[in-house]
């Protein structure tokens, strides 16, 4: 027995490796198969036309606007001035963000840390956030529903999807739709901005995380906008390199913009707003669960910091 003590490590290692090897081999196999698949799968451009025929199920706005949808689901490669909805956005003062909520993933965390609205707005974001985890995540002790039921927001910005761009698009967009519906239900007067996911730099494209896929997902997201309650914003044209990818100089790792660019991005968001009061008060009783809408609040002024409804407004750095 004493002799075996000398090579105990080897023995233990061999035993544990032997037991674990099937799992490891499977992982290695899957990994190399995935890489081959990702390289071979072309982006689902063919499905874009199919999507053009889809009607938005949320009949929020009484008049369905198929024309808008047609525009929205066009392959959003070229001209992007028209991309950010076909809506005439306006510049706003930074106080516009006093009653804003930002929901999203690590890119939203970037806005939370380096955007001009960083100490002003509420942020519900974390690295890795996805459409499937938004409703169940806890950030700084709150869940999303906590925030939505305790504070009244004038506008909600949602930017999510980059972490799922390699997954099934139908699942993702259906989750997304669910989130938007929930936002509309719980915050009937809030303006909802759904934001297109930022591209990645050409050098950072890999296994399924490609700009073609991002564009496709963004196209689906744009399809959720109705330009009445839900608006679509896409900053990609500002930061693109001319070939549909994020400019290399905008980012250190190809995926997250640098702090300076988060600042520019946040300024861009501030320059593309729907002024308060422009959205119609909740017309569909089905959508507005609570009856707390008062006409006065529909015309809320940007200055809301002293408003009593902001009692619960916690400025967390998260």
């Amino acid at each position: 027995m004493n002799r075996y003590k000398q090579f105990l490590f080897t023995v233990l290692l061999l035993i544990t490796c032997f037991c674990a090897s099937p799992f490891i081999f499977v992982k290695i196999w899957k990994n190399s198969a995935e890489e081959k698949k990702a390289a071979a799968t072309p982006p689902p451009m063919a499905a874009v036309e199919a999507n053009a025929g889809v009607q938005t199920p949320t009949a929020e706005a009484p008049a369905d606007k198929p024309a808008d949808q047609q525009e929205a689901t066009e392959v959003p490669k070229e001209d992007s001035a028209a991309k950010s909805g076909s809506y005439a956005y306006e510049k706003a003062d930074i106080s516009y963000f006093n009653d804003a909520l930002f929901i999203g993933d690590s890119r939203t965390v970037g806005l939370q840390e380096y955007g001009i609205m960083r100490d002003i707005s509420e942020f519900f974001c974390t690295s890795g956030m996805a459409t499937s985890t938004v409703e169940t995540s806890t950030v700084s002790g709150h869940t999303l529903n906590n925030l939505l039921t305790s504070v009244k927001y004038g506008k909600i910005y949602l930017m999510i999807g980059i972490n799922e761009v390699a997954n099934n698009f139908d699942t993702t967009i259906s989750n997304y739709r669910g989130i938007v519906d929930n936002l509309k239900a719980k915050q009937p007067e809030a303006i909802i901005y759904v934001m297109g996911n930022l591209h990645v730099a050409a050098s950072a494209e890999s296994n399924g995380i490609t700009n073609a896929n991002i564009d496709y997902l963004n196209g689906l997201i744009e399809g959720l906008a109705d330009n009445e309650r839900v608006f679509y914003l896409d900053v990609n044209p500002e930061f693109d390199d001319g070939y549909g990818a994020l400019k290399e100089s905008c980012s250190g790792d190809g995926i997250h913009p640098t702090a300076e660019y988060y600042k520019e991005w946040s300024q861009w968001i501030c320059d593309h707003t729907v002024p308060d009061g422009k959205t119609p008060p909740a017309a569909e009783p089905a959508a507005a669960a609570e009856d707390s809408t008062e006409p006065a609040q529909a015309e809320e002024t940007p200055e809301k910091k002293d408003d009593s409804s902001n009692e619960f407004f916690t400025h967390t750095e998260g």
Binding site: K5, Q6, F7, L8, T10, L12, K27, I28, G252, A259
Partner: protein, 464 residues
Amino acid sequence: MVFSSLEFIFIFLPAFLTVYALTPSRYKNAILFGGSIIFYSMGVLNNPIYILLFLLTILFNYIIGEFIGHSRRGSRLWLTIGIVFNFWWLIFFKYTGFIFSNINTIFRADLPMRNIVLPIGISFYTFQNVSYIIDVYRRKAKPETSFIRYGAYISMFPQLIAGPIVTYETVAKQLKHRSHSIRRLNDGLMTFTIGLGYKVLIANEIGGLWKDIGTIGYSSISTKLAWLGVFAYSFQLYFDFCGYSLMAIGLGRIMGFDIPRNFNYPYLSVTMTEFWRRWHITLGSWFREYIYIPLGGNRHGDKKTVRNFFIVWLFTGLWHGASWNFVIWGMVLFGLLMLERFVIGDFLNRYKLIGHLYMFIVIPVTWLIFAVTDFHQLGVYFTRLIPFLPERSDVILARDYVKYWGIYAKTFIAAIVLSTRIPEKIYKKIKGSPFCAILLLVVFWLCVYRMYKGMDDPFMYFRF
């Protein structure tokens, strides 16, 4: 293929060791040679011609060695041909782009800039081949008569990709005869595991901070975070390279080779002079043995000594990378070494606390020059390091260092402790015990877990 990958640990290594163990001693070198070529080819899959080049280089140097060894008269000519041949390939692959771009800038020329992929390990195996033929010329080593043995020497996969730079006579005896035992296997595996832990659990982790800072952008970090960053990079570089060298030593030991130690607690040094006797020891030895001493070393007066140091450090800088920041890095080190030699060295050695403080600043700052290739970015980072300058950018996140310290504190502390001799002292005491075996087993599986989750980076020195 990287050592710190599931493919290497669970496929290549077990397969190789099984075949190697079952092979009779007479053919073990052939298996080592063959297995190493397979290992090498996994790393050059996109350019399979590099395998041919590698084999050709081995063959050529083997022949040159024979010629030099067996002919007194023409041997100088053969030596020259050999050296030129070896360095020609290194220069062609590694420095053509750099040379062309400089000519283009200076002379407004328009030489074509093609993106040449570097054959992996070329910086290391070139130096090994050259050391061999020079040693044969100097009669320090007898020429290797067996091509297989020579091939095994140059290609042996533990040290092929990233060193240590093993000279021929270090392993000459072991090439002919080496002993294998379960004890060596056990020792080697433990050493390998420690190296793996250094790389995966420390270097890759703390490298995350340096990457995060790159993501934020150098102009948008606070001074405190900037300093945290350079310390993180310094630790990453050390644990990455030292870890890799330990893995090489461990693997060598399993096969009966005594690969020399490449790091000896460099961060405990009190002077840069001492540092370079503790960091990448085999590289320093190579430069001393084959450049510094032939030039006369320090035996021909101060002026010549300074010149010799200058040449050595110019080339040391360039060896690390084909870019001006590496040259500047080499020159800064040259300056410090001369300063220490002629002015402050004795003082620092006597008052060790001051020496440590001096190194505390100098090490991270010189690594910064090494780390950042773009001069503009380097300048930006430097301004961030200086606390008195007003913060240029208002984008900086307040108390960002608090956030990042929170994330990386544990790794920093582990890195600091492991930079001292304490762990090795403990290891020596507990080496035979079951406790040590369990501990290393845990380390091993933590590493595998990390790799499994896909959080591995290729070894930093791979651009060589």
